[in-house]
């Protein structure tokens, strides 16, 4: 009963065979380098830079997202980069399952674990472990690690508190119900 549908206009989203819902108004560069795990929603205005791949020929996975993820409106996802021994390179970005990223957040992380919630207007340049949560308006500079089951907030982001032990179940249920509620309008 709590599953109030959250309608979207059918023309606005493309649904793939595996249940991914990608907005037509999202900018997906280099789609051949992007993997979506299934039942993942890419919202309006999101930008995913699959074109920023490692130097060299051929395909390479640049950004992979797991199942039941949400990339919020106006998010920018781009792979991290590094100059190592004088050579500039992009590195792949891997995002686990059940990850929600709030609106207008910029993500340039190497890894985001499973069951992670990231708030709105964040800037993330870091590694986020499983079941972590980043509050709205948080900035996490490079070299910081967000450990499992913690809440980070602030600018720069700090550890705030440990999350309850059942975070995994809560986030999983929430992300699943979010996907279920995300329904096309019949028209």
């Amino acid at each position: 009963m709590m599953q109030t549908p959250n309608y979207y206009s059918k023309a606005e989203f493309i649904e793939t065979d595996t249940g991914n819902k990608v907005s037509r108004r999202a900018t997906i560069s280099g789609p051949q380098n992007i993997i979506l795990g299934g039942k993942t929603i890419i919202s309006n205005g999101a930008i995913i830079r699959g074109d920023l791949k490692r130097a060299g020929p051929g395909h390479a996975v640049v950004i992979s997202l797991g199942r039941y993820c949400l990339v919020g409106e106006g998010c920018v996802m781009r792979p991290p980069y590094k100059t190592y021994r004088g050579a500039f390179n992009y590195y792949p970005m891997k995002i686990g399952d059940f990850v929600h990223i709030g609106a207008n957040t910029i993500v340039e992380a190497a890894t985001i674990g499973n069951h992670v919630e990231i708030g709105k207007n964040c800037v993330i340049f870091t590694i986020i472990k499983d079941c972590a949560k980043v509050a709205d308006n948080t900035i996490i500079p490079p070299n910081t690690v967000v450990p499992a089951l913690t809440l980070f907030a602030g600018s720069p982001g700090h550890f705030v508190e440990d999350l309850p032990e059942s975070t995994q179940e809560v986030v999983e249920a929430y992300t699943k119900s979010y996907y279920t509620r995300f329904q096309p309008a019949e028209r």
Partner: protein, 546 residues
């Protein structure tokens, strides 16, 4: 604000009834369901405030290295690898090399660059651009910085003093702990352990500082008294106060900008008192985090036991209340029904309805839905009741004093289904059911129900069981908000559910409650309190009725 249901934890209180829902101080008693634990042995809800906590492992939150507890003490509870905190903004610092020396032609010579970079190395904050060269800290090698930093920390006069103090008490502590080890083990409570050290310290305090009363613990026999006298006098090396304060006063006198003084937040994480000058703050090794084992405060059974690995989010033992108590959510049907009826065509209407539901108007009558989800493998019978009797603080009759009456009696009336209703058992299969199908089915059912009770006017059907689906039962309640009501509509609700405890599937119960399990077909009842928050009563601008 969305309506919510919070669960009550009695926290070992002998009175099972929760405090009144509206007082600000009662919020500590109510928790979201997913934060609560459940002790099978005691058959009781436990919360983070009442469980006893033990550290099961230490790790650095940054490099996630698991630190053996033996080295935790030696390394002063901080990371001994390369994890540092910026003294300015508390961000994580990174080790950076100096600029590579230019080759003759002016270009950086990439060829003979060492992989780690050129010494000297700095600690650099990529958030606030602080770098350790500001405090004359550079390193020849990019590794083992923590050891160098710790050497510096350990040479602080306070640290030396503390070490000496520890040394001074060490033999005494060893002697007393060996003789009273059994006693200190039993004494795990929050109360200060009454051991000879405390006694000695308090007597020393009483002697040195006049006016401080001597702390007298419960009489514990002759041996302690003798032992207290044995301890020799300790003479400190560091003068208390002394030159540092004078320097600080001088510094404060010449202060030009507030930012010159290190803020409390910047000094907070330091082990020892440090300089007041923001410009002289040293980088800090990152404090370790711990994984915690949680035990029931009464029977000492483990409720939470994490896996050892720092990154792991799994638990060897995890007894959370969500696996035992029915999960409850509360919502107003109006927004959802209208959203369904009008479909996506009426986006405006949905928004309107949402804003309507977020506030209750005085004098209105609102139906609400409570959805109960059964986590057990057995069907349960649930009975709901509003806690009407708020225990009066004094014996006076509420109606006697008109000023007190509104505070005592809530300005709204809640009706809930009177009879017990069933919630079907949880079955794994529903987990795998396709989400879309579940959603579709649910929508149909709501539609059918709507026709049945025909709009908000159908008062006969607003209270009672509205819907049953899988292991979820939705019941309707109704709240009548008084004419001159204001403030939050919050009430305590007593939930009791009955289930068969002999079901072969419920192995956990068989194991947990052997005493009650003697007779086979037994119904068990568990009762708990919740507080239901339906939102705020908004002052009504006009007198139109709902």
């Amino acid at each position: 604000m969305t309506p919510s249901v919070l669960y009550h934890c009695p926290c070992l209180s002998t009175d099972p009834a929760p405090p009144p829902p509206n007082t600000p101080s009662s919020s500590y008693r109510f928790h979201p369901l997913h934060e609560l634990f459940f002790c099978e042995e005691c058959d009781a809800v436990r919360c983070n405030r009442c469980v006893s906590v033990e550290v099961s492992g230490y790790h650095c939150p940054n490099c996630l290295f698991e630190v053996p507890s033996a080295s935790v003490r030696a390394e002063k509870n901080r990371c001994a690898r390369n994890c540092f905190m910026c003294p300015n903004c508390r961000n994580t610092l990174s080790v950076v090399p100096s600029d590579p020396p230019d080759a003759d032609d002016g270009r950086a010579s990439v060829a003979n660059l060492s992989p780690v970079g050129e010494p000297p190395f700095f600690l650099y904050c990529n958030y606030c651009r602080w770098d350790s060269a500001e405090v004359d800290m550079t390193f020849e090698k990019p590794t083992g910085l923590a050891a160098q930093l710790q050497k510096f920390e350990d040479s602080a006069p306070e640290s030396l003093e503390f070490e000496r103090l520890k040394e001074h008490f060490e033999p005494f502590l060893r002697a007393s702990s060996s003789s009273s080890s059994g006693l200190s083990h039993a004494n795990h409570s929050h109360a200060t352990p009454v051991n000879p050290i405390t006694a000695a310290a308090s007597s020393a305090l009483a002697r040195d500082i006049p006016g401080v009363g001597k702390y007298t613990p419960a009489p514990r026999g002759r041996r302690d008294k003798g032992a207290r006298d044995e301890i020799s006098e300790y003479r400190s090396r560091v003068e208390v106060g002394g030159t540092k304060d004078a320097a600080n006063v001088d510094f404060m006198r010449r202060l030009e900008a507030v930012s010159q003084v290190a803020a409390l937040g910047q000094r907070w994480a330091n082990s020892w008192s440090t300089t007041l000058r923001a410009s002289e703050m040293k980088p800090l090794r990152i404090p370790l985090h711990s994984k915690k084992t949680k035990r029931c405060p009464t029977c000492r059974h483990i409720l939470i036991k994490p896996e050892q690995k720092a990154q792991s989010v799994r638990f060897k033992i995890k007894l959370v209340a969500a696996n035992y108590l029915p999960a409850m959510t509360v919502a107003f049907p109006s927004s959802q029904d209208s959203a369904r009826q009008r479909g996506a065509g009426g986006r405006q209407a949905t928004v309107e309805d949402k804003s309507g539901a977020s506030g209750l108007y005085a004098g209105g009558t609102y139906p609400f839905h409570l959805a109960l989800t059964n986590p057990l493998y057995d069907p349960i019978q649930v009975r709901l009741a509003v806690q009407r009797q708020i225990p009066p603080p004094s014996s006076s009759v509420p109606s006697a004093s008109p000023e007190k009456a509104p505070a005592r009696r809530p300005p709204f009336a809640v009706s809930l289904p009177q009879s017990a209703f069933p919630v079907a058992a949880f079955a794994e299969a529903w987990e795998y059911e396709d989400d879309e199908d579940m959603f579709g089915g649910e929508e149909d059912e709501i539609g059918g129900l709507d026709r049945e009770h025909g709009g908000p006017g159908g008062k006969g059907k607003t209270v009672g069981v509205l819907e049953r689906r899988a292991n979820v039962t939705v019941v309707g309640g109704e709240v009548v908000v008084g004419r001159d009501a204001k403030g939050p509509v919050k009430f305590n609700m007593l939930v009791s559910y009955t289930y068969r405890s002999d079901d072969p599937l419920a192995e956990d119960d068989v194991r947990a409650t052997p005493s009650r399990k003697e007779k086979a077909p037994e119904m068990k009842t568990f009762t708990f309190y919740t507080v239901v928050d339906l939102g705020l009563v908004v002052p009504r601008p006009r007198t139109g009725a709902e």
